[in-house]
Symmetry: C2
């Protein structure tokens, strides 16, 4: 995992050179290179290898997924959205660069993601690149990330049930993880039930990711998390621990890990090892 994360960090650093106009590139680099866990790009590379592809061919796609993730964080943190001051232990992008630059940096990262995949992917059949771009596009828009954030914002201050909570998390978190895995598999030469099995794996992992996030919000301090802790509770926001209780939420997390690894059984266990590892890592992470 560390090797993959290092490769991704090097590729991300090279993907946004510090050129004119300086401020926008500083702002993009500030958030993109802020030391995220790189879960999504690692999943992308791992899925590419799992289906027999060469990891190197999926590096541009892995970077694209992280650019999009970063863009969604920058925009979600804005004052008119979640109004967050702290992200990954540092001031949020708009706190550091101003709102207008933060909005533009997000827009630039989003378009760079697609440019990057289309312009930098090598040794992959073009029809696979086209399929991956279509998949990635639908993961972000009004049927993906944006839909999740929209319903999340609209539900603030209202009573939210488990179904709606799952809708929000599937869209805000799972969709992009799903795209990371599915696009990695498509780039790597995967098709049909192989890709669909990995899609199911990614959906479970995505929801797991969010359930764990909710659990950490109520059990850890801001310092441990690198972001404002207890915020969900303070804002009376719907979370799994609040709707289910903490113990039931932990049980749900266990169930999701189980379902995710079940989907990996169709693969050679050794080749699937990174995906087993990631499921375990997400379930047991402490920040």
């Amino acid at each position: 995992m560390t090797t993959k994360a290092k490769k991704i960090n090097i590729a991300l650093d090279a993907s946004v050179p510090l050129q004119n106009p300086i401020k926008i590139h500083e702002s993009m680099r500030y958030s993109l290179l802020a030391g995220g866990k790189r879960v999504r790009p690692i999943l992308c590379l791992a899925a590419c290898e799992l289906v027999g592809g060469d990891e190197a061919t999926a590096i541009p796609m892995a970077c694209a997924v992280e650019m999009i993730h970063t863009m969604s964080l920058i925009h979600d943190d804005l004052p008119c959205m979640d109004d967050d001051d702290l992200r990954r232990g540092k001031p949020t992008n708009h706190k550091a660069f101003g709102e207008e630059t933060a909005i533009l940096a997000g827009d630039a990262l989003l378009s760079l993601a697609f440019h990057h995949v289309a312009a930098k992917t090598r040794n992959v059949e073009p029809h696979r690149v086209v399929r991956a771009v279509a998949e990635l596009g639908s993961a972000i828009g009004s049927e993906g990330l944006v839909a999740g954030q929209m319903v999340d914002i609209c539900s603030e201050g209202k009573e939210v049930g488990l179904d709606e909570l799952e809708y929000i998390h599937v869209h805000k978190t799972s969709k992009l993880l799903e795209a990371a895995v599915v696009c990695g598999a498509i780039i790597g030469g995967g098709d049909g039930i192989v890709v669909e099995g990995l899609r199911k794996y990614a959906r479970c992992i995505g929801l797991l990711f969010q359930v764990v996030d909710d659990i950490l919000d109520v059990t850890k301090s801001s310092k441990e998390l690198g972001k404002t802790a207890g915020k969900d509770l303070a804002s009376r926001k719907a979370t799994y621990p609040r709707l289910m209780g903490l113990e039931k939420a932990k049980e749900f997390a266990r169930e999701l890990v189980g379902n995710a690894v079940e989907e990996l059984r169709q693969f050679d266990a050794l080749r699937a090892a990174p995906l087993y590892h990631l499921a375990g890592y997400i379930a047991s992470r402490q920040n």
Copy 2:
């Protein structure tokens, strides 16, 4: 032209169905279907036909270009950017739906654009779709639209020279027009000097578009324009009429039309007719 615009409007309407979450789709449709002049998508279809392609194959790309244009208008109108209340004779998106929805609608339109091209383009070699996606991505990001808006914002209240003004307009306006034409030509089967000739045409047209905009801002009323007139002058913003004088700006516009049509000489005059027409239309438009 009217036939092309009608086809585009029908395709745009179908590209964003009014589905759940309703509010985000309403917001996207509100701005996308607000009756813009469709100059960019028309250019895209015309370029496709000019190089011998079937217009129908470029419809998804034409829609994508208009989605991106709309997204840039929504984000540029935000309070922390140009803070505009009126656009195409109606309240701006954030005035009608709120800031958070406006930001998300822009993000959704941007990602939908790429999804749409990749998922809906038919009967075009995949490597052409990949090239067009790369071209489109670079037109928007930190070397395209976003760069122009960034420098524009940073230059407010400062003395701006003609070079910087041209940088702003080339990036804010020409880049997307250029992408519209170049992508249309790529989709239509164009390569090499044909595409590069059309790129030069589009650059002239893009700059022309902005020079005419600046001229209209000082010579027309808000009612005639469908947006706040005299705003550039009131805000002491750099414009061609302000830096060159109104007459010199008109002369510059004439020069740009001349250079644009010069690039069309390599083509069959009848087939190039729509592009001649557009150059003339942009030069003589009244709103």
